[in-house]
Amino acid sequence: MLYRVSHETVYDYGESVSLCHNQAHLIPRTLDYQRCEACELEISPSPPRIDPWQDYFGNEVRYFSISEEHRRLSVFVRSVVEVRERPSFQAARVLGWEDVRYRLAHPVDDECRLAVQFALPSRLVRCSSDTAEFASVSFQPGRPLVDAVIELTSRIYHEFRYDPTATTVNTPPSEVLRKRRGVCQDFAHLEIACLRSMGLAARYVSGYLQTEPPPGQQKLIGADASHAWLAVFCPGWGWLDVDPTNNQVPDTRHITLAWGRDYSDVCPIQGVVIGGGQPAMRVAVDVSVC
């Protein structure tokens, strides 16, 4: 599938901003099943330069700063991304979840060692006895990891209500668990917390969904903004993506931007401003098939 993605973020400031420094995670990653054909970043007021670099997780980052006085900052990205079918995860079904837990606790190869960072608590994802308890229902002894994860994903989808008013960026997973409400980011964080409390490794994935559904299919939640889901580590096979907001194993309708331990590693635009008062922010995303 070839997609055209446009993602516009506008900050309107109450007072003028004399200086801002920003970094953006807005360039789609290149993966076995994904290729970014073109990507254009348009920033206004235009910064003297945009510096590219790759973060520790291999994500594309763009740094820019603006020292021209401004009351509005707009960041507009347009990209053309090809997403192919992902490999089947049938092969990963042989892994028992306790075996994976053991391999992460006693890593002997680089793949497992690097995955360890996704098994530890992170800034926005703290594990608790609640998350462990909620997860353990799906993790019966001897069960294949993949089956348990798919079931956990489906339980979050069915037992939780999508509610944009219930949470903020900083709501911890334990609170989401109590309220049984949240948005895609909360569900991703919650499921990551659940998996980490079982001793497994899970990472946060930020990206987009195809806006217009293929004929005969339903439009997915989160299609008009950026989206978030997660991936679980299956040693020897790779990382399996799951989307608890839509109860899906992502395929060609999910476009991957970046991944990290949680949202704070891959925040689309993060910045420090001098001045500005109370900013108002608008985001518009459009994903269409070329």
Binding site: Y56, T167, T168
Partner: protein
């Protein structure tokens, strides 16, 4: 030549050493087994013995006085006696022989090299992780491993420019490393200050014992920082980034900046534009090449490290990434401070160098390793438990000191999150003699040693900072740990060469006439220092005129004069004792108590103590801009120091003495400022502060004394001239009785009288002009307009007309004139702030809420 111990009679009754009894089972630095003085100490002990208790007590007093005079302090947040505590130094140094020092320094050299290698690997290829020499959960669970700093370029592969190790000697005489400090290790500045003091009070010993000098270390540090500058410029700009006056070691930050010749800056003084770090100065933005940082890793950049931190510089990590600035120590070096790392060092050392770690760390177990956890469980009561990663996050816990119940709770906590804890065995530190006031006592010793990267290896500071304490466990690793510090003397085998930091550099330095590289924040503080100094001086003059009158014979009319003068002293109204027939004596007593309150009550917001403490506070923030002498004078402006016995109501004469002392100090300070401060922007701001304050004071005085009707004008005229230090001029000029119009002329209009408002306006105008010229903006600015207005008003005024009274006897025109003129100065102050000093607008975090769909 060594002197035999026979010549020193240590057992002499009443002698210095008679009561010195080292603790059983503890290594004593001075006395060996069977109470014999160790070779290293023989000569020194002999000198001490000759000095005797009286001589030593004198030296101890001298030490305290010198430290006090030099204003050596450290901050203890939340301490009851205020945050600034005087630094305490024992009069006896800790002695180490050359042989022992050589062993220690090659061991520390190896350790510093190893730690640097670990950083280079961690923030580069991560080979140690891939080989399993560092466990993945240690690296990734360590909050001090900063992913944003991975792959940052570092010139010469030096990550660790400055390193400090905490050392202790165990009972077997072996040294151990208790902790490593690798972010902005503090203490080297205090070591220098200790040395300056001790070499002055023990000059003979210092030379006879051939003590190794500290200066070569700092010369090496300077060379290292200069050569690490990313762009090859002849005069790279190096700044010392401090967390600011509230940090524990601000004194040292300022001291080191001055000692090394670097600009002392705080986060708010720096800004990143594009990919360069710039210093905000009065003359504009100046590029910075090297940052010697004293702020912790995570605070260095709110954009990429800790959101919300105000201590750092947004965009700093990116500037480093682009190779445009060097931060020393490199960002992320705090990783090495984790106790959890210690158990892995020996294997890493063998891996890199095929040699053993020369100096072992204290035995440490990281509970994140199951075998370590098992050991910790089995020997729990003998251990000290601490956070595995960030040592600052919680104090160490000595398990045996916990009640039983809490021990099992702690163990439970550890079992739940084992990777967050490390345990260490207790080290009983060696003791050394400490002067307790009347005798020598064996106190426990901890030593902080310092190393600097230099020409591909590490050089040690030949000495160090030692902390001593009467108990062994109160000696943590912080600067404030323990009760006192000691200088560390390394005794050389051969004569020691004199070294100074001001040695001629290999390359000729580009000549600079202090341009406008003054940080705006510093200008702001100098401005306020000027205001505080002038305010204090005005107060002292004013209250002295009252005190002098009180000590003279008072007749009934004199009471009225006193009341008049007291009213002029402060803005708050004077509430006299009421009653029909209040006897003058009671009023006098009341006024006297008021004066004493004003002089000594530190809770009084506009009293003398709070003004002096504001003065000292402001001075301490800009102490790197003041000469050593000026700073010493500022430190003496302390009522507790000048007048330790406090006020005595019946001895007002003593107060006059005190006020004269203060006036001498204030004048000495002004004299030093006039005579030794270069006429740069810094001096101008300090002087503008003084001028504005003085003008406002004179205006207030004149208004208080002459607007309202008075039966007898004479005392008011006398007082005005006296407080404004202009009596002599008046008498010399007019040779006549006192009259209001000439007094008004002398105090307001006269541009030749340094106390007159007109003089202040003229001086301010010239400062403003000079600043405008140097900022290359020739438009007439608002400061110039304000001053021209004031100048015109003063020059055009008719003092005879101002002296005219209305029907009620009030001088309404004078009142109006003073009010109009008085408005100019606060306005000028605001305008200066707006033009030059607006700088510290706090930055805010902006995070997208993009996922809240």
């Amino acid at each position: 030549m060594t002197i035999s111990t026979e010549t020193v009679d240590f057992e002499q009754p009443g002698g210095l050493f008679s009561g010195y009894l080292p603790l059983a089972g503890v290594y004593d630095e001075m006395l060996g087994p069977e109470g014999r003085v160790r070779g290293t100490w023989e000569q020194f002990a002999q000198g001490l013995s000759e000095l005797g208790p009286v001589g030593l007590a004198q030296r101890a007093d001298q030490t305290r006085r010198l430290l006090r005079e030099n204003g050596v302090t450290y901050n203890v947040a939340g301490a009851p006696q205020g945050p600034d505590r005087p630094w305490e130094l024992d009069a006896l140094p800790l002695l180490l022989s050359q042989t022992e020092w050589n062993r220690l320094s090659s061991a520390l050299e190896q350790r510093a090299r190893l730690l640097n290698q670990i950083l280079a690997d961690l923030y580069g290829p991560q080979d140690l992780l891939h080989r399993g020499l560092l466990p993945a959960d240690l690296v990734y669970g360590h909050p001090g491993f900063l992913r944003a700093c991975h792959g940052l370029r570092v010139p010469g592969n030096v990550f660790l420019h400055l390193y400090a190790a905490h050392l202790a000697r165990q009972s077997d005489g072996q040294w151990r490393v208790l902790a490593d400090r690798t972010q902005g290790p503090s203490g080297a500045g205090y070591a220098v200050e200790n040395r300056v003091v001790l070499s002055r009070i023990l000059p003979v010993d210092f030379h006879r014992l051939q003590v190794e000098r500290l200066a070569p270390f700092f010369i090496a540090l300077r060379e290292t920082l200069l050569s690490s500058a990313p762009l090859s410029r002849d005069n790279p700009h190096v700044v010392l980034l401090s967390p600011g006056p509230r940090s524990a070691t601000y004194f040292e930050d300022a001291y080191l900046a001055r000692y090394l010749g670097y600009t002392l800056v705080e986060g708010g003084d720096l800004t990143v534009r594009g990919d360069r770090v710039l210093l905000k100065t009065l003359g504009g933005l100046l590029p910075v090449d090297v940052i010697l940082r004293r702020v912790p890793d995570e605070d260095a950049d709110p954009l990429e490290l800790k959101p919300g931190s105000q201590l750092g510089v947004p965009g700093l990590v990116h500037a480093v990434r682009k190779g445009k600035v060097v931060v020393a120590n490199s960002l992320g070096s705090g990783f090495l401070e984790a106790p959890a790392l210690l158990p892995f060092l020996p294997a890493i050392c063998r891996h890199y160098y095929s040699e053993d770690l020369l100096l072992p760390s204290v035995d440490t177990w990281w509970c994140g390793r199951p075998e370590d956890l098992r050991y910790v469980e089995s020997r729990f009561d003998e251990l000290i438990v601490r956070p595995a990663f960030l040592h600052r996050s919680a104090p160490p816990v000595v398990v045996r000191q916990l009640p039983r119940g809490e021990r099992s709770q702690l163990l439970e906590q550890i079992r739940r999150q084992p990777d967050r804890y490390a345990a260490q065995s207790e080290v009983v530190r060696s003791t050394a003699p400490v002067w307790s006031g009347d005798r020598l006592l064996p106190w426990h010793v901890g030593v902080r040693a310092f190393a600097v990267a230099h020409r591909g290896k590490y050089s040690l500071l030949a000495g160090g900072l030692s902390r001593v304490s009467s108990t062994t466990d109160s000696l943590g690793e912080s600067m404030s740990a323990g009760q006192r510090s000691k200088d560390v003397w390394v005794l050389s085998d051969r004569p020691v060469a004199r070294v100074s930091l001001l040695q001629a550099p290999a390359k000729a330095v580009e000549l600079r006439r202090s341009a406008n590289d003054l940080p705006s924040r510093v200008a702001d503080n100098l401005f306020w220092l000027g205001r505080h100094v002038e305010r204090a001086e005005g107060m002292v003059r004013h209250i002295r005129s009252i005190v002098v009158r009180m000590t003279q014979e008072i007749h009934p009319s004199g009471i009225a004069d006193l009341i008049m003068l007291m009213t002029g002293l402060s803005d708050s109204p004077l509430t006299l004792p009421q009653g029909e027939q209040t006897p003058p004596v009671r009023i006098f007593d009341f006024l006297r108590d008021e004066v004493i309150d004003f002089l000594f009550d530190s809770s009084r917001p506009a009293g003398l103590p709070s003004t002096l403490s504001a003065l000292r506070g402001t001075a301490s923030i800009v102490r790197d801009r003041l000469s050593v002498d000026a700073w010493r004078i500022v430190n003496q402006m302390d009522l507790d120091l000048l007048f330790p016995r406090g006020p005595d109501r019946n001895r007002l004469g003593d107060l006059a003495w005190l006020l004269n002392q203060l006036l001498n100090l204030l004048s000495a300070f002004s004299g030093l400022v006039t005579e030794s401060m270069t006429r740069g922007a810094g001096w101008r701001f300090l002087d503008m502060g003084r001028r504005i304050e003085r003008a406002m004071q004179i205006l207030r005085l004149v208004r208080r004394l002459f607007v309202e009707p008075r039966a007898d004008l004479l005392p008011a005229l006398e007082s005005a001239l006296e407080v404004a230090d202009s009596s002599m001029t008046y008498r010399y000029r007019y040779l006549t009785t006192l009259q209001l119009p000439p007094v008004l002329d002398l105090l307001l209009v006269d541009e030749t009288n340094p106390r007159a408002v007109g003089f202040q306006v003229a001086a301010l105008a010239s400062h403003v002009r000079a600043l405008t010229v140097s900022s290359e903006d020739t438009r007439q600015n608002s400061e110039q307009r304000i001053l021209l207005g004031a100048q015109a008003a003063l020059r055009l005024t008719d003092v005879e007309a101002l002296a005219v009274q209305d029907v009620h006897g009030r001088r309404t025109r004078l009142d109006q004139f003073l009010e109009d003129l008085g408005g100019a100065f606060p306005q000028l102050s605001d305008s200066l702030t707006h033009t030059y000093l607006t700088h510290t607008v706090p930055s805010r975090q902006l995070t997208g809420m993009a996922h809240n769909l």
